[in-house]
Symmetry: C2
Subunit: 453 residues, 2 copies
């Protein structure tokens, strides 16, 4: 794959250097939109436009759909409203919506005015739904059939509307033109006797979602039930559109990136679908600095705790040797728990009503892990300092810190969920700060008691 892409990139760059652009036209016409988009993202703004200009309108629209927002912005900036309008008219309206709201929000009205009135109206329709809702992700271009027609009539209808719909894998059976009463797959239509009524072969027990449903939830349902599309139905039973499996995959992939970066304390959502090298370094740094600063300030708490125990630390310098080890162990135990709980919440294995069950389980787990690790810590400490009292302090601290970290690590994500905050945002970095400061307090309190200092 990448070898192939590299070769294509070389070809494009050579044509740009020799200003022999026309030679590229037939080559590009044969490529997949996703591949062309990848190449465009690696060119500078001027070259982007030159290459983009070589594409047939239909392919150009597909490519625009595949480029990350930085590249999309760059291309749209260089094109007139009329040119952009023509491209947008050829794209699925949910993707147009994304461009108009996320990539070039400042040109939304201007571009809508340049689109076909019918398409613009559809976009305005979708714009009513909340951000990140299924409504924003759906397409209204699905196959609608009435229940009383025959299979062969359904096939005729399908041929007639083929150009106007996005997918034909499922035919939606609507009563009175808008009420969803059943679904029939194209496979079923093709393999049923032509004179059979649609109403006899349709599946009537249809899983649907409302347009207000969160995109991730709809994507998970599509994945769970192996659907190719999910019908979106209003509260009054009117069918509004479908969300297709390729959109579901994109939503899940974006969520994956978000979770990864958030666990790593990178916060800027706008960066999540951007290729590594396309984002300017300054932009990246801005997105990282916020969290780093916040965590730094939270971590200064550890300094406050240590100051409380200044006398003990001055009396027994060896105590400070174990500080990083002990808070590291607390952090590691906690982050194992956090990632397990966040994942469980996300896929729906854990619900809020399981809170006590989860906390009990994690507390017990932490105590058991802590005991096993505490024995190791006690031995290691004794073979280091040959001081059984210090070894006892270290071993005991490991037991308590592991139990405590597990408790905090399961409680914080559940708390975030209760307040409808994405657990992935607050948990991973926050827990480390909490566990660091409280862990030190636990450590030095145990030291004070055991060593009698």
């Amino acid at each position: 794959m990448s070898i192939y892409l590299e070769a294509l990139e070389t070809q494009v760059r050579e044509a740009l250097d020799s200003e022999n652009l026309e030679s590229l036209r037939p080559i590009l016409a044969d490529q997949y939109a996703a591949d062309i988009a990848d190449i465009l993202e690696r060119l500078d703004d001027e070259d982007k436009l030159k290459v983009f200009g070589l594409l047939e309108p239909e392919l150009a629209a597909e490519v625009l759909d595949e480029t990350g927002s930085e590249a999309t912005r760059s291309l749209l900036r260089q094109l007139s409203a009329e040119q952009v309008g023509d491209l947008l008219d050829q794209m699925p309206m949910d993707d147009v919506l994304e461009i108009l709201t996320e990539d070039v929000p400042e040109r939304q009205e201007e571009l809508l005015a340049a689109m076909e009135p019918e398409d613009a109206a559809e976009v305005r329709d979708l714009l009513q739904y909340p951000e990140h809702s299924a409504g924003r992700l759906m397409t209204q271009k699905f196959v609608r059939i009435p229940p009383n027609i025959t299979v062969s009539q359904a096939l005729q209808h399908l041929r007639r509307v083929d150009d106007e719909v996005e997918t034909v894998n499922d035919l939606y059976v609507l009563n009175g033109g808008s009420r969803l009463v059943g679904v029939v797959s194209l496979r079923e239509v093709v393999t049923s006797p032509p004179e059979r009524r649609v109403s006899e072969i349709m599946e009537t027990d249809v899983i649907t979602a409302s347009p207000e449903t969160d995109q991730e939830e709809v994507a998970r349902m599509i994945a769970r039930y192996d659907f190719l599309a999910m019908p979106i139905v209003a509260d009054d039973g009117r069918m509004l559109g479908i969300v297709t499996v390729d959109d579901a995959i994109d939503v899940l992939a974006e969520e994956h990136t978000e979770d990864m970066l958030r666990l790593g304390a990178v916060s800027d959502g706008a960066l999540f679908d951007q290729p590594y090298f396309t984002v300017s370094l300054l932009r990246v740094l801005r997105s990282r600095f916020g969290w780093l600063l916040l965590l730094f300030l939270a971590d200064t708490l550890t300094g406050n705790v240590l100051r409380l125990f200044e006398d003990q630390l001055a009396a027994v310098v060896a105590l400070s040797f174990y500080i990083p080890l002990l808070i590291g162990t607390g952090g590691n135990t906690g982050s194992q728990t956090v990632s397990t709980i966040i994942r469980g919440l996300a896929v729906g294995d854990i619900h809020l009503w399981d809170t006590w069950r989860v906390l009990r389980r994690e507390l017990l787990g932490g105590l058991l892990l802590g005991t096993a690790l505490g024995v190791v810590a006690l031995i290691r400490s004794y073979t280091w300092d040959y001081d059984i009292h210090i070894a006892l302090v270290v071993g005991l601290t490991v037991v308590v810190i592991c139990a405590w970290s597990n408790l905090v690590g399961s409680f914080i994500p559940l708390l975030a969920r209760r307040f409808r905050i994405d657990p992935a945002v607050v948990s991973a970095p926050l827990i480390t700060s909490v566990v660091d400061a409280t862990g030190l307090f636990i450590y030095l309190t145990i030291a004070r008691i055991v060593l009698g200092i």
Copy 2:
């Protein structure tokens, strides 16, 4: 969704309690396999079997396909080889393969013997391919047509083979019965004139993968090109099977869970597709203890470093107050970088040949972030201790540690990739240990020089 599932679970439990199982039969027959699987996972072994026994064979096979491995194991343990064989015969062979290799490997031969010879032969075929390869994920039950037939003949053929194939969304055009020469979608077939030749409407520029390709790569390609299935073709051009989009979604979801848990230092791959409550606590603890112990031992390095500077720490106790803050900042900066790089590597934004470019970028980024944060640290330290020398040490250390963490955080994942180790496994926990120990060395060396102790 979950409210609906809760109600279903209550119904099932009530029927079990009142031993009125027959009443469940019609209710279960109407449910989706994924929902029944969810309920089964929450029942004890005996009840699992009772409820499972109420399902019609076809639905039972689908449910078995959806249960996590613990539940699958429990059910299969309680069924005879003949019973299991009949169920497996009705499942997609790639899913049978997963059960035979991952869930009940000890019964592989016995169960293969109980299956239809034809199905067993297909499974043995797939078994040749390496683990986690596309070959293990594919189905051989796709629609094969020759290029010279007409559209209406293709439709007739499709109706004949409908029962034997898994999906009909795409028809694969094979020359000489096995060489892939083109693909035509069912949509195209249905909307083309009946007398048209398949060879005239087929797409000949087909993207394929080899059976040895990694599953994640195939899944990513399916997502990238919005495919419903990807043909798998041997080196000699013979088409072997297809990987379908629902399998691709499962692979990507599993990867997501893996990444999350690995970033949190949970290592046991077998736990990744298990619901939180189904896995026994001891099993979870075993999977966590390994990493915790390893990280603990790695973290003892920090103790060694601190011992090197015993005199300095004894002379200026205030130095120890900053230890958690400084290594915490190093860890946070590093983990931001690690998660960015791992993500970039996974989605293919970053390649090995970009190594130097990445390292330069991250080093520069670390220096800039460090400078900004260092100023904050200097001010905070001065307002704490009113000692400009200590404040200078702390500020300077933040600059160097940020740059260093960024370097380590980008280098380790790239190194792992070079040695074909999954970067997510080694990086996140390892980097913290490396950064902790080296960060302390940096801190106390700067202190020794600046404070002259």
